[in-house]
Point group: C2
């Protein structure tokens, strides 16, 4: 079902998030290893639920090896420097995704 890379992040105050996301969109469009890419911003959930995190980033790879190769890809390494500098706090999870729906009718 593919290998998923999930990032939950809160950016530092003053970060131009739009610029970060443009850089990320550019990165994933350049690197063919990334099969799907989506992101979103939670603008309304209570702090009790979000724990202060504001953005989610999700990528899918065909297999774990592709994810590993992506991590060391020069474009990713270059982007990571910018991204890391903007992080207030972050959670990163990587896993083989179990897709239950739409498999079930």
């Amino acid at each position: 079902m593919g290998f998923k890379h999930l990032v939950i992040v809160r950016f530092k105050e003053g970060t131009v998030v739009e610029q970060i996301m443009k850089g990320l969109e550019k990165l994933v469009s350049e690197v063919n290893l990334v099969k799907t890419f989506a992101w979103g911003e939670d603008l309304e959930s209570p702090e009790m639920l979000t724990q202060g995190f504001t953005h989610a980033i999700s990528m899918t790879f065909d297999k774990k090896q592709d994810y590993t190769a992506f991590q060391t890809h020069p474009n990713h390494v270059e982007f990571s420097a910018t991204f890391s500098a903007a992080i207030e706090k972050i959670v990163v999870l990587c896993f083989s995704s179990v897709q239950v729906k739409p498999a079930i009718a």
Copy 2:
């Protein structure tokens, strides 16, 4: 692009996660409002990245109203009691998902 409900969780020690996930799979197969459902467990990333979180759960709805209706659905309310009791820590994010790939060639 749909409305996403994302949960990052660490279960209490002794939780039978398989049982929780079976309950969740049953729930989403019964409630038509849920359009996609996937979950995964991170078994290898360093604590520095996962922050102790182990599982990710992702659901997609056609629109925000469907998510709201799901929250108050009797089956969800019933399941939530079991789920909540097993939580060690949790982050919940809800957002309109910006799907960049595969839209870009």
